[in-house]
């Protein structure tokens, strides 16, 4: 039961990441691409957690925490740049 659920969840997450890449490629404006990148890193955290569940290890959670924090900081930096024209004033 757990293997089937893991396979279903992996397929759904990979399909979600493919849709994010489509939006990243054809987004008409800069905030659309920024939103696509933001969702892409969130989905990549889910993919890493599912990989850790599949391999039955706890090694990858530090990578997930790192991706979460750096993705948030990067999104905030690009938002500040688009809003104010500068990141740190």
């Amino acid at each position: 039961m757990l293997d089937t659920a893991l396979m279903i969840s992996l397929g759904l997450i990979v399909a979600a990441m493919a849709m994010n890449v489509v939006r990243l490629a054809k987004g008409p404006d800069v905030p659309d691409r920024l939103l696509a990148l933001d969702t892409l890193y969130v989905n990549s955290i889910a993919l890493i957690v599912l990989l850790g569940l599949w391999l039955n290890t706890k090694t990858y959670f530090e990578a997930a925490i790192l991706i979460a924090m750096l993705g948030f900081v990067g999104t905030m930096a690009i938002c500040r740049y688009l809003l104010r024209g500068d990141i740190i004033e």
Partner: protein, 151 residues
């Protein structure tokens, strides 16, 4: 035995629910017509989906390894704090850059009209301005109009 089976069922349900929620969020981001409509999917659906998946992982490692794990709870808490901040900043960026929106996006409630757009409607450009192309074109035009200095 029955406790293990019950925990396995809960973990499987949370995994499938998380995958469905993340898929729905990304589908909304792909299919909706407008940036301000597209913002709704990732900020709610994807966040809830990854919360479900992380809680499923926490339950799985708690049950199988007989010790309590809080690392996934840390990621869940961090994502649940940062997702509304990201959505707020992205909405501010979209409003600042005057992105195009369909007419159904901006609700025209009569009791909200005064504080929303003021007494007169704000004129918006028909097409979104590209941030650096327009600047570069204006710079090129200025440099073209400048007379060249004789050496």
């Amino acid at each position: 035995m029955t406790f293990t089976l019950l925990a396995e069922g809960v973990v499987a349900f949370l995994l499938v629910a998380g995958g469905v929620f993340a898929f729905t969020g990304s589908l909304g981001m792909l299919q909706l017509k407008d940036f301000f409509m597209r913002l709704h999917g990732p900020t709610k659906g994807t966040t809830l989906g990854i919360g479900c998946i992380l809680i499923a992982s926490m339950l799985y490692f708690t049950v199988t390894q007989r010790e309590f794990h809080v690392q996934e709870l840390l990621i869940t808490l961090f994502l649940f704090i940062t997702a509304p901040v990201t959505g707020h900043m992205l909405a501010k960026t979209g409003l600042h850059m005057h992105l195009r929106f369909i007419t159904g996006t901006r609700g025209s409630l009569p009791e909200l009209r005064d504080e929303d757009v003021g007494q007169s409607r704000v004129a918006r450009p028909a097409k979104a301005r590209h941030p650096w192309r327009t600047r570069r074109k204006s710079l090129q035009m200025k440099s073209r109009q400048k007379p060249r200095l004789p050496r």
